[in-house]
Symmetry: C2
Subunit: 414 residues, 2 copies
């Protein structure tokens, strides 16, 4: 961690950090859950404005105004509007991000589109340790296009003249490792390849600058740090320079240049509008649009500073108090290599995650042995994270989680 900042090492430190927290007022924008919620990297908390937006969308827009709502309630322009809002949070100038579908579908679109934009090169490179859907979709795209997939370690990957497209996640879902976004993007470009970043665990967690990076495409979900709701629609960013020739496989009618002309042949719309596919899930997307208002006026530098203070707290506490229980910090200790979560390797991590839930601390388990603690700076307090770590230490000291281990093995419950 950064040696210039003293880590939070007591509850008093945590309370002092809360008192000085520039983001403290943002917490009021949420219907904060009663538990200490360290799983915002899986599903973000509920912004307070969503419920009324949904009631309006259901009762008035759907119930009374019906099809007129495509114009009168802005349903038709919703995907692009939400896309631009997301774009502002990932460093994309307007007109380059479209909201819709799932991350899996958007990655399929991006990889086919970029592969077609870089013909004559046989290889798609994907992180061997990436989230499963990234690997599976890359395999499927390669098969459809007659390409080869290479599964690589992003930290050691050397692109070459065979590299068509590289798809890495900015932050690894399991370890929380943040990649060298600029260095990798530059190396891929230097070799003549195109770069697609999966921002699922990065968007809303730290400042991003997809335009500045020169990324060719990016995808991500909106239900983690962005707090867009369960299964909220994903997004696709494609850099403007690729738009004129962008050739996407899911040629649905919403992406047509004249969707209501019902033309004989597909002719893609100008710009990122061509990344629309079919009719989007309006209610989910309205929830996302309402949810994203929590980001108004929020500085992502403040988010990043608080995120690092919170993950530093976890790392320092684990080093100081949890190593006797076999707990090992998996997430890189260097700030520039860390996202907004800490992965702790610990025996019986699954049972530990269950025991913590019983004590009101929500983290999650990733096989085989990782307890994943995500920190969402918009609504978490430093003192909550401190309390969570003390509870974790208490569970480990009392072996509470081993009851479940013994029960599962058919042994006596202690």
């Amino acid at each position: 961690m950064d040696p210039m900042i003293s880590p939070i090492a007591s509850r008093a430190d945590a309370e002092a950090a809360d008192a000085a927290d520039a983001l403290a007022p943002i917490r009021e924008r949420f219907a904060v859950p009663e538990a200490i919620y360290l799983d915002g990297n899986s599903l973000g908390a509920l912004p307070a404005g969503v419920a009324s937006a949904m009631a309006e969308a259901v009762n008035q827009a759907w119930g009374q105004d019906l099809i007129a709502s495509w114009n009168d309630h802005g349903w038709w322009t919703l995907p692009g509007r939400v896309g631009n809002t997301i774009g502002a949070l990932i460093g994309a100038a307007p007109g380059q991000v479209m909201c819709g579908d799932s991350t899996s579908v958007q990655l399929f679109q991006a990889l086919v589109g970029l592969s077609r934009a870089n013909p004559g090169r046989p290889v798609l490179a994907v992180d061997a340790g990436d989230f499963p859907t990234d690997r599976y979709i890359t395999d499927s795209v390669a098969r459809l296009l007659g390409l080869t997939v290479e599964r690589v370690d992003p930290n050691r990957f050397v692109p070459d003249g065979r590299t068509a497209v590289v798809a890495f996640s900015a932050v690894n879902f399991a370890t929380g490792e943040l990649r060298d976004l600029a260095g990798i993007t530059d190396a891929v470009h230097a070799a003549g390849g195109l770069m697609c970043w999966d921002l699922a665990h990065a968007a809303g967690a730290l400042p991003l600058d997809v335009d500045g990076l020169g990324a060719d495409a990016a995808v991500g979900c909106t239900y983690k740090y962005l707090c867009g709701g369960p299964g909220s629609p994903a997004f696709l960013y494609v850099a403007e320079r690729h738009h004129p020739s962008l050739d996407l496989p899911l040629a649905g009618w919403h992406g047509h240049a004249e969707p209501f002309a019902m033309a004989d042949r597909y002719r893609p719309a100008a710009g990122i509008e061509r990344a629309r596919v079919g009719t989007p899930p309006i209610l989910s997307m309205i929830a996302t649009e309402a949810a994203l208002t929590v980001w108004e006026g929020v500085s992502l530098s403040d988010v990043r500073a608080k995120s690092l203070a919170l993950t530093d707290l976890i790392v320092t506490f684990a080093d100081g108090h949890l190593s006797p229980f076999g707990v090992e910090v998996v997430t890189p200790r260097e700030h520039h290599r860390r996202g907004s979560q800490v992965a702790l390797r610990v025996p019986h991590a699954f049972e530990l995650s269950r025991a913590l839930i019983a004590r009101g601390v929500i983290g999650d388990f990733r096989p085989p042995d990782v307890l994943r603690l995500g920190v969402a700076p918009l609504y978490l307090r430093h003192s909550q994270v401190w309390d969570a770590m003390e509870i974790l230490a208490g569970v480990l000291a009392a072996n509470e989680h081993l009851d479940a281990v013994f029960a599962r093995r058919g042994g006596a419950v202690t």
Copy 2:
């Protein structure tokens, strides 16, 4: 029309039909719009139970229970549950329908999956007059798989040994023509082809029996006659006999045999679960699940009988009262060739649709000259349809819609 049934030819006839309507109580399950809504073939009306289901989903499941809701509120099993509910309405035994994504995406899945199941045949056949997305997606699939698309007239189409997959809509979106589902399916099978039906304008509009037909796949949206909400997730039916070898292109992690094992390679789940892709739009799908409860105990034979009574009313009225205004009935007059809408060809159809909206009658316009009047038997009254036709006659007689035509041309407003 069926000569055994006297068509409704007066408001008194319509009121008598309302009094005898077996579906009249079902109307109480809806938050019925104030207008006379003849566009349920575009977006179905709001079922009354949706608002409370959404409030619960937002405030409790998302807001408080958060990730635990994947189990505790049944989010994980939601797509298959909704799929089975849809299945019951289209004649599919359980375990063959998955809910998710858009119709465009589901059609992409179906066409790639069926093409791979029928290798060595070069042709995909699609209705030349089908809804645009069906034609565009078929073209895209053919391009990816190295196949050829033939655009045909479903009523004259003769499949042959080159036919891999045929994709037709059961009911044409523009004309309302219902195809010969059994005859076409049998002919395609006799030639060794596979049949995919797009049920967007058929599901919930008439009895369907995809299992009995022997259809290989079917897709459809849920926001028209099924009343699942704006942009509600679509569905994919694949006949069970194809499941063991079903090879879908969107190999997202939700369709994996062990999604949480995070396995190195994609291994599809057994059965229709492999048709899951990424994280689905939970809020939209919860709305759909709540909405579909309006179908409980509804006989689709009753739906069909009322639908034909209502479309007969429109056809009879148009023949008797509207032909002097140049109105022509496009939709087939034979019941076995008619879906649940009537398309009227009429000069200045766009302006006419706007003038009707101003008078509280919601239909829609399809270029170049069609006024489309859809009838949704669950919530429409015979007397409403009668009134709509009288209003339509009044607008035409007074030339109300021509004001807009003149205004658009820069002429004097009469």
